[in-house]
Amino acid sequence: MTETLSLEVSRLAYAYPDGTQALFGVDLAIGRGERVALLGPNGAGKTTLVMHLNGILTPGHGSVTVAGLPVRPDTLKEIRRRVGLVFQDPDDQLFMPTVRDDVAFGPANMGVRGEELEHRVKSALERVGMLHVADRPPHHLSFGQRRRVAVATVLAMEPEILVLDEPSSNLDPASRRELAEILRSLDVTMLMVTHDLPYALELCERSLILSGGVIVADGPTREILADADLLAAHRLELPYGFAVPDPDGGPSRRT
């Protein structure tokens, strides 16, 4: 079973140095090839959980395992190759003078050089449709383009699992749709942290709700979003005018 799991988190608890307890025993498992949304209101501990996935934060209790490899100080290097984190603000993620250098940064840190490095950069940029901006400085790109390049910087590391923090934030509707198309075309395990519920419905067949530092729901996205009481109990809401009918009630409509 372990071989087919991309990510396994068990009984993960964490308190910040100032004593604030953020996670109270999180359990979750994501199989290879799954696209899963992690939903939760602001302050639920989503970002804290994400920071554990590649070992930036060390669990107070419990464990994180990526494709069978536990996150420990001596495995960090490999863990960071396996877990590709896409940050919310692309300006934090794109710190090199050109797009090409930025995409090359991750694989180069892993020791990839020469033609293989070229190839990784090219194919990662191709997968997000951004090869034509390779030699431009990141701050010359539009926000949507920067977010796509940010995805490419992580794809170039050939990760086991792609973790996206609020991928749809600050995007205009067209960029939002374009990004969704790109994410859907990627053949990679994905954990998408968001409170954009329609986006979760569009991209992820399965959703988790993190609230108050624990996972309170885990199931098909459509069922979770149809449960108005569950959403309301955890400060989640569909935008005005949206409704996801109960799965038994026929196909979903956007009214």
């Binding site: 940050f87 710190f95 090359a104 701050h139």
Partner: protein, 254 residues
């Protein structure tokens, strides 16, 4: 906002553009040293140096107007140089009704000639080398990697920080504040403080993003900047010829 479009750089594909940055850096510094070491009385040498630079500009296909416009930066030195003959002491000569100091005239000429040559050489270097390549070249010349990284980040985030500063000014003005006199300094100081904290926090987030992609304290070398002996030879032609010219002229003039 000239985001990333650095006014000093002129993209191109001339032989000068193609030289590795470290060669060009060293050549520029060496050339400037030769210029500075030249005695100010050696007029033909300065003419020769100017011709050498004109040759470089022609090879790099950098038009004269491009260089001239960017020489404005030299203005304060020129003003200072023009003041010297007036305020200088010692022996004086009358030129068009003005009594000028001979020593001041020499000093003024010395400054103008050497500064101009140095500035033009630097402009040519900047015009033919991308800013980040200059930094990578400096790293090849053993500038500490940490300094290079700091400068790289400045290059990347300068426009972003300027933008943030502009937004803060707009936000102040939108609420009816415009800095007019010294009593407004505390308000501006608080803005600068807020900007510092924001930039600091961004720095922390960037560091996290770097760690997430396997950063372990050093930037991976991604550009092969090794220079062939022929390229070094070509770059050092400029200071070499300048030095040769000076030596010949010095031997020739007793």
């Amino acid at each position: 906002m000239g985001a990333g479009h650095h006014a000093l750089h002129r993209p191109g594909d001339s032989p000068v553009h193609r030289l590795p940055p470290q060669c060009k850096l060293l050549a520029t510094v060496a050339f400037t040293l030769v210029v500075v070491a030249t005695p100010r009385e050696l007029f033909p040498a300065f003419a020769g140096y100017a011709l050498l630079l004109a040759g470089v500009a022609a090879a790099a296909r950098v038009p004269a107007a491009f260089v001239l416009r960017r020489m404005v930066i030299e203005t304060p030195f020129v003003v200072f140089a023009f003041a010297l003959p007036l305020i200088g002491t010692g022996e004086r000569v009358d030129v068009a009704g003005l009594s000028l100091s001979v020593e001041g005239l020499w000093a003024g000429w010395n400054i103008i000639a050497k500064a101009t040559l140095g500035v033009v050489a630097s402009i040519l270097l900047a015009a033919t080398t991308e800013p980040r390549m200059l930094l990578l070249g400096a790293q090849r010349l053993r500038l500490p990697p940490l300094l290079v990284q700091i400068a790289m980040f400045m290059l990347r985030y300068m426009d972003l920080i300027m933008d943030e500063m502009r937004r803060m000014r707009v936000a102040r003005e939108a609420r009816g504040f415009a800095a007019r006199d010294v009593r407004h300094i505390p308000v501006l100081a608080r803005s600068v403080g807020a900007l510092f904290i924001r930039s600091y926090e961004r720095g922390e987030r960037v560091h996290l993003a770097m760690l997430s992609r396997g950063y372990a304290g050093t930037m991976p070398a991604m550009h092969d900047l090794s220079a062939a002996r022929r390229q070094w030879g070509m770059a050092l032609l400029l200071p070499g010829l300048a030095l040769l010219l000076m030596v010949i002229l010095r031997v020739g003039t007793p």
